[in-house]
Subunit: 214 residues, 4 copies
Amino acid sequence: MGIRERKERERERRKQQITVAAKRIFLERGFDKATMEDIAKEAELSAGTLYLYFKNKHELYASITLKVLQFLNMRLAHIKAEKFDISPKEKLDVLKDILLDAYDFDSMALINLFHLQSRELLKKLSPEFIKQIKKITKQITDEIADIFEEGIEKGVFIKRHPAAFAQIIISAFSGIVLWEEGKKSGGDKKDYVKPTIELVFEILTKGMLKERNT
Amino acid sequence: MGIRERKERERERRKQQITVAAKRIFLERGFDKATMEDIAKEAELSAGTLYLYFKNKHELYASITLKVLQFLNMRLAHIKAEKFDISPKEKLDVLKDILLDAYDFDSMALINLFHLQSRELLKKLSPEFIKQIKKITKQITDEIADIFEEGIEKGVFIKRHPAAFAQIIISAFSGIVLWEEGKKSGGDKKDYVKPTIELVFEILTKGMLKERNT
Amino acid sequence: MGIRERKERERERRKQQITVAAKRIFLERGFDKATMEDIAKEAELSAGTLYLYFKNKHELYASITLKVLQFLNMRLAHIKAEKFDISPKEKLDVLKDILLDAYDFDSMALINLFHLQSRELLKKLSPEFIKQIKKITKQITDEIADIFEEGIEKGVFIKRHPAAFAQIIISAFSGIVLWEEGKKSGGDKKDYVKPTIELVFEILTKGMLKERNT
Amino acid sequence: MGIRERKERERERRKQQITVAAKRIFLERGFDKATMEDIAKEAELSAGTLYLYFKNKHELYASITLKVLQFLNMRLAHIKAEKFDISPKEKLDVLKDILLDAYDFDSMALINLFHLQSRELLKKLSPEFIKQIKKITKQITDEIADIFEEGIEKGVFIKRHPAAFAQIIISAFSGIVLWEEGKKSGGDKKDYVKPTIELVFEILTKGMLKERNT
DNA sequence: CATGAATGAGCGTTCATTCAT
DNA sequence: CATGAATGAACGCTCATTCAT
């Protein structure tokens, strides 16, 4: 048993090692231009070895995303738990922090949400995987939408479709990351992701607030 | 002469036909996964024929984008021309209309701004092409930033970096289009792009406004 | 009839025009890298037109060669006719002049003799063409060999296989042309073909002579 | 270490296997008509495998040639080393042996010297490769020319441009190989290369000698 | 007769994936 | 368990050849 456990842990470590390498390469080159060879080299392994831990390139990619989504989901669940303790406006602040944390954890973060919905990619994934991803994606967007829904109910936010609010947050976030990545691969070295995200949240929060008192 | 003209027009028509097909395929599958064969089939031509009209896959892609960018640039120039007639806030409304028009004209619109900054792509394009694209890209972002700069100067908008405002607009816009495309290729049929963009502009505009307390 | 003749002559002129263009392009780029488009452009015609005058690229190439071979054969026949009037050594001089003339007429001249023996090429030619080429090639080499045979019989040249002598002449000649072409396409502009051929003949003639008098 | 060495040797063996196959195919069909598929089949491998050992078709071709040129160069250096021990005339004999050995080693031998000067080919090779080839080509032709220069200085050979002598030797040699290859691919089975080369050297040597009348 | 747009077969090359060691 | 050599399918692209105009 002890042996089995150690083996399991060893295996987990290897997956971790591959995952870290893959993240970097995928981010740097994008899914298509990143080769398994590249990733293997980055992980200091041979290409064939990757297939001992991941069914194929797509599943490796998806597994990375799944982890971020799980991370996000977990963090968002915490907000919900504190539903009655903090105001919707404060929750938006927490949401911002969560997204920035997710960005630190894996800078491709939400961008993948787009990729993972492409038929092409999904076709190559195992059905269980697909189910997991779809489920967690839904949970995340719902969780975010909930914040807005609560805010609307409480009369804090203007009355619009909560899901649309959620989508805007996610879209703006990933749009900015993509843009900054584009600039970086264009030779630019500075990274304005965080200040820009801060600004977005500042503006959006203010824009969503119902105008009070005159 | 009449004959030459007709030929020229015929040629332009074919390019158009290919362009339309390419737009659809590129949007559907992304640059890498779209094959020339795919595009040719969509255009009801053979793959070899595409090369009679476009030097290579990259130039086909870039030519599509260039057209939208030119369209955008032209429209934005109009705003500038009317600088003194309309308020910054109204200019934001015009900007929204322009972006929505650009979306109608070519739904990949601004998304390409990201792609077109990738070193990989640029390496394969002819130098004149690159110069044109870089120039027009800069013009567009500058033009948008100008709106905000004016708004800030006039004390209408909160004081932040105008370029960051511009980037947020573009990022949010393309993020939303990507998101909706993702949903579509995931089987969903409805297109919420326009209402969502409307909402984004509503929120952003409000969020950017300096609070006037009267 | 007059009309028919004029048409025939017109047709011949066109073929000539194509032939001249093709010679230049083939020489410049070699058979494989020369495209029908290139040749057509050089001839100020469209690519399709070439096929009205030549069955295909191979036949165009072969027809060019055939003409040089016919030219060579004709000239060589003259030497034979004068068999008894001039000495073998003088005939070698005439041979040299003929080869240099052939080089002026078509600088690919004898080089093609090599190409024309390749199975690949022959497969694509019409049978009559092949027969003609094979026949004339044999005539030429025989004709040259005859010179040496006569020289040997008369005790002027050393006693070796006459066909081998012929082959050496042809090989050295085409080797030199190829070499100089290679240098030219490598950027070098000077053309040493003629002086080098002169030198070859000087040396070969001397080397073939039976040593007289002691 | 032992394992690494064995791997290295194994790799070298594969390269050898490919090289041998490539030599045969290139000789048989020429550079352009030889396909990587052909070569792979001859080597009993798949086409993709060739790219594990050679960067591309051009580099495969060039690597073959480079080896012969190095072989030639090495052997020629020996002659130079023995400069004072043997006469120019004897050196010509050694040169002949070297060329015949080179022919045994790789029958395309000097023919490639022509190909390797084409701009087209050179463009596709890596710069170091080009430098190596240019350098070694120059060395070889210089080395050969040196023999004649010495002979001229010593009053053994007639006074002509030494480089022209060298060129004639190389041209005649490759011309003959090409010719014989042509005959072979035309169905003929016999190989007269060696006796013909012998004859060429006999004649040339004699033709180059200054006449000593005693 | 001449055109040149269109085709389609073919080539060089890449890369995810497999499998013997 | 790890390797990396080998595969083969797929793609971008070229060009000889055809054919409607």
